[in-house]
């Protein structure tokens, strides 16, 4: 029997109202296993704003505050400032926001926090659309994907723009640590959470979190789809520490993007030609990542 080297402690407690197979629940669960109980969370409007509980119940065993949609970066900066001035040490401050709350409406406050160098972890759990409001496209929705605001049929062909490169935006701030992670690789996720915790400064985790109702797949396939995303290089696992890029999983037998996409009805309408376009974009991104690893092996870009 394979023994997982994950902490036994649970900080996401039973009773939450997450959908069956919710990737965002796994993301929070593994994140907190990595960070432990001395963690304060700030959560904006997103699925997790509902999952945290309904008064007077709460489903997290760490203190948290729900805030306005666009203000996570400022909220965690404020919490850290208060703890510092009060002399409270050894507490990890975490912003936990969805892709809409990060890549779209929350980008300004996040950029401010990164630029100032506030000591906090910002986590973007990415389910690639506004899922709490019923699957509207976000800047993080991938090319071609169906959403309720990028319909399919008539003139509609799904989203016409590629996914926003959030890691690129984050790294333009020269942060000490940023990493991608996936709910299909919990040990890697836990390690990265701990790594971020140990760094004094702004750190960023981009967690791939499949959404069964929004991506239209059967709920038992969440982890499988997350794994395929990594192995198809759609969502590579990598980290950037002080300007040095490192790939954490280099698939020995890469699979075509169609293997990943065919399990999800949101891509069900894609023609062969559109699939090729998608594959080309994935290949280009992977090439760029390899180049960044190569370049920064010799000399870090910053740090």
């Amino acid at each position: 029997m394979v023994k997982l080297s994950l902490p036994q402690e649970e900080y996401v407690v039973g009773g939450h109202v997450g959908c069956l197979g919710c990737g965002a629940v796994l993301a929070m669960r593994y994140l907190l296993k990595g960070l432990g109980p001395r963690t304060i969370l700030s959560i904006p409007a997103c699925c997790w704003a509902v999952l945290t509980g309904s008064y007077p119940r709460a489903y997290l065993n760490v203190p948290f505050v729900n805030t306005a949609f666009e203000s996570t970066g400022a909220s965690i900066a404020g919490i850290r400032a208060a703890l510092d001035i009060r002399g409270v040490e050894d507490v990890t401050v975490v912003g936990f926001a969805g892709d809409g709350g990060t890549a779209d409406i929350g980008l300004q406050a996040l950029s401010g926090m990164l630029e100032r160098g506030d000591n906090a972890i910002y986590v973007m759990y990415d389910n690639e659309a506004y899922m709490n409001t019923g699957t509207q496209r976000s800047g993080s929705t991938p090319l071609g994907a169906w959403t309720t605001t990028t319909p399919v049929g008539g003139a509609g062909r799904g989203k016409e723009q590629p996914k926003k490169d959030m890691m690129g935006i984050i790294l333009a701030h020269r942060v000490p640590y940023a990493a991608t992670a996936s709910v299909a690789f919990p040990e890697d996720l836990v390690r990265k959470a701990r790594k971020a915790r140990e760094i004094a400064g702004p750190t960023f985790l981009h967690i791939f979190s499949p959404c069964p109702p929004g991506w239209r797949f059967s709920s038992e396939k969440s982890v499988e789809i997350a794994r395929l995303a990594v192995d198809a290089k759609v969502f590579p696992l990598y980290e950037v520490e002080e300007g040095t890029y490192r790939i954490n999983r280099n698939p020995r037998k890469p699979i075509p993007v169609s293997d990943y996409m065919s399990l999800q009805e949101r891509f069900g309408h894609l023609t062969k030609k559109m699939m090729e376009l998608f594959q080309a974009e994935v290949d280009r991104n992977w090439e760029m990542l390899l180049r960044m690893v190569e370049i920064t092996e010799e000399k870090p870009l910053w740090g």
């Binding site: 309904s54 805030t67 203000s71 400022a74 404020g78 208060a82 001035i85 401010g112």
Partner: protein, 385 residues
């Protein structure tokens, strides 16, 4: 010192611990001075140079929830950008204190005094105090923490000063001794904080079965301020020998035929006008609204029982029939059996000079008028260009 420096001194003496602010004319000298205090080690605080007013307010709210005393300051557009978060601050009961330098709202661009910015926040459940001079500004920042942090209240407070008339005009101001301020204002110990040793969740969902009760509690807290505010001022007087009164200050209202209701620096001019009218045989008086939230409903009702004519001066345009103060005054006086005539005047918008003549004309027009109504007091005749 200027009103802005008085704001900064108030925050310093109150020992604000987290300050988050974004620059806007004419607020800037407040945050510049606070930066200096911190840089020189005179104030032990964290200053977050946030990228917007929205983030300034969010940082203060979250810092307050994490147990720190907080301060920010803004004006006009910056305050409007904060609007969403003003509701969060009061709704989650974080006693943030904010200085607001009242400035006109665009367009057209205008940086001069006008109260539309704060009047437009009247429904956000913030305590609102308007100041007449720079001493009042400094003293009220200190009082604001004492009022807002009261366990029964736990509400945010904004302390207003008129752009340039106070913000950039120097007056003699007595700086209270820090040890006296410390004795008057104990350190901030909120009932509930973000604490890893006692994990609590804040702002979770409350459905139709509970939401209204949260709002009721908010209303109840605001009601409680009406008695607490005069008490705090009395305590302040015992410590510092100065008193500013309760929600409303009466000036020569005894046996008056006409009383002017106004806020901010216009009240200083109005005192001179009232004196002049009294000298010429007109029984005039002034009711200075020190607070707009809570609205001094009971004070207004008492006053309405004693006078036949009330003049209301609104240095703001909020799109209602009659200005923000007018509508509230009318609603209050209607609660007594024989309500007086109330005349509302829009005047002094966008920094237009509110001269003694204009104020006098408003009061004399009120005496002559047959019934209640609203007038643009000093508007020029509109001409096609």
């Amino acid at each position: 010192m200027t009103g802005n420096v008085a704001q900064a001194w108030g925050a310093k003496l109150a020992r604000a611990q987290v300050i988050a602010a974004y620059p806007i004319t004419p607020q800037t000298t407040i945050v510049e001075r606070l930066s200096d205090f911190i840089a020189k080690g005179e104030l032990q605080a964290k200053y977050l140079t946030v990228e917007s007013e929205h983030s300034a307010m969010q940082a203060c709210i979250s810092a307050s929830l994490a147990g720190a005393r907080t301060y920010t300051a803004t004006s006009s557009q910056g305050l409007l950008l904060m609007h969403e978060l003003l509701h969060w601050a009061s709704g989650q009961r974080t006693p943030v204190v904010m200085g607001v330098v009242n400035r006109a709202v665009g367009p057209p661009w205008n940086i001069w005094v006008d109260h539309t910015d704060t009047m437009a926040q009247r429904d956000t459940n913030w305590i609102q105090a308007y100041c007449e001079n720079n001493q009042e500004v400094l003293d009220m920042v200190i009082q604001a923490y004492k009022i807002g942090e009261d366990a029964e209240i736990s509400l945010p407070v904004m302390i207003m000063e008129d752009a340039f008339y106070l913000s950039h005009t120097a007056e003699p101001v007595e700086i209270p001794h820090p040890t006296l301020v410390d004795a008057f204002l104990p350190t901030f110990h909120p009932r509930h904080v973000l604490d890893v040793d006692e994990p609590l969740g804040f702002n979770v969902l409350a459905g139709p079965d509970l939401y209204e009760e949260f709002r009721f509690q908010l209303a109840h807290a605001m009601e409680a301020t009406a008695t607490r505010i005069p008490e705090v001022d009395e305590e302040f007087e015992r410590s510092f020998g100065r008193s500013w009164g309760g929600l409303m200050e009466r000036y020569r209202c005894e046996d008056a035929d006409v009383v002017l209701i106004a806020v901010g620096t216009a009240t200083s001019t109005a005192r001179v006008v009232v004196d002049g009218l009294r000298d010429s045989g007109v029984k005039a008086g002034l009711a200075k609204l020190r607070f707009f939230r809570p609205f001094p409903r009971e004070d207004i009702k008492h006053l309405a029982g004693e006078v036949d004519s009330i003049t209301v001066l609104d240095r703001s345009y909020t799109g209602t029939y009659g200005g923000a103060i007018y509508t509230e005054v009318v609603a209050s006086v209607k609660e007594i059996p024989h309500s007086p005539k109330v005349r509302g005047f829009y005047a002094g918008l966008g920094g237009r000079d509110l001269s003694p003549e204009v104020i006098k004309d408003c009061m004399m027009e009120t005496l002559k008028a047959e019934e209640s109504g609203v007038v643009w007091a000093d508007v020029r005749e509109f001409q096609e260009v």
